[in-house]
Symmetry: C2
Subunit: 206 residues, 2 copies
DNA sequence: TGACAACATGGTCAAACAACCATATTTTAG
DNA sequence: CTAAAATATGGTTGTTTGACCATGTTGTCA
């Protein structure tokens, strides 16, 4: 995008800040903030429109960011997702960046998705470690062989669920602890399948 | 919060929607959308203020959401994080929900944080699987023993980095493949430490 | 030196606007 | 049944606002 002068940049940043807080500023408000005449702002805003940073929705307080500029901002906001990393280039060089993603976008979440903090090592061999958060999608049943969250003896456990003829097998994944599969009757009152594990997040790796 | 009538709810939702798109609606715009007189809106908005959903910043298009309501919205927006799950309760019952977190908040990210898609199984024993995204914080050096991203032979690799006297050891974590540590000279031109792995995200668990 | 872009002031004006009044109908709760 | 709350209309008023005009200054570039 066409470069901005310092003043224009300042004004634009102020506008973005205001929009972030959901109140598009009036020209007079901007003028007040920078101790300018309303008209100085009118002009500067005109420049910003001409350069394609702002769009006018019409009406009072009608300033909007242009799509192009919103996109440019997104690159600062979302996390850059790196594809193949080329040697020599600075790591965050454009050719390395595949896209910019918000973490929200990684999981296309619906209303009934939630996080559950995992305690225990029973699923380590599946890459679900103690302290991880599993992303769970609420569901009354889980496909056989999938990893699910089961409410069992007042405790939510994450296990691989295998549906058999008359029972359900809850298979841990911990080589060291041995694979002590637990079997429960189907339709047991004290057991409830809570959901299906669709993701896993680990923070604070040291 | 005090419950809303259907009409009030409708109006509020419309306002929220407008605010999301960064243009607080004027009363007339709302009125137009619902085919009402400006004054009907004035009254309904008054109720919403009285009930604590809206706040008035004064001036034209001065409507804002109250903090209380923003908080309530956050519960719909962020993912609920479940603590100890009580049996009997519906899984998303209030007593189960510890807090509502946006995924953004899980990593307190700075500008130089990015995602890198992992290919390969060399870190499976650390719970970093093929296809996972690692959250990387840019850094020229990595503490000994930490997991880092190293640019090596035109390829970004995730390995445990152990700094020794005259060399750096890159230790994979894959029992099956054997732990074939790779040693590189310190200050080797062809090697660059790119950053430190601070998190790991797995999507699409089947 | 002269042209031009950027930046600035003060002033005017019509449209958009929130606030408020009087009033009427419908819905809800006791 | 009745009173209060909620929902609605139309009209008035004073303020806020964007747009625009005339004009002046400063810095840059040819």
């Amino acid at each position: 995008m066409e470069p901005l002068t310092e003043k224009q940049q300042q004004i634009l940043e102020f506008i973005v800040e205001c929009l972030r807080e959901n109140h598009p500023p009036s020209q007079r408000e901007i003028a007040g903030h920078f101790k300018l005449a309303q008209n100085a702002v009118y002009q500067l805003v005109s420049y910003l429109k001409k350069k394609g940073y702002l769009v006018d929705a019409g009406g009072h307080r009608g300033l909007r960011l242009s799509e192009a500029y919103v996109e440019e901002l997104a690159e600062t906001e979302g996390m850059p997702l790196l594809g193949r990393v080329a040697a020599g280039e600075p790591i965050l060089a454009e050719e390395n960046v595949e896209s910019y993603v918000t973490l929200e976008a990684l999981f296309n979440r619906s209303k009934d998705t939630f996080l559950l903090k995992v305690s225990g090592d029973s699923m380590v061999d599946e890459g679900i470690l103690d302290g991880d958060y599993v992303v769970v999608k609420s569901a009354a049943r889980v496909g056989s062989g999938q990893i699910g969250v089961v409410l069992l003896d007042d405790e939510a456990t994450v296990k691989r669920v295998v549906v058999q003829k008359h029972r359900i097998a809850l298979k841990p994944a911990n080589r060291k602890a041995g694979y002590k599969t637990r079997y429960i009757k189907r339709f047991d009152k004290d057991v409830r399948i809570v959901g299906k594990v669709i993701g896993c997040i680990r923070t604070d790796i040291r």
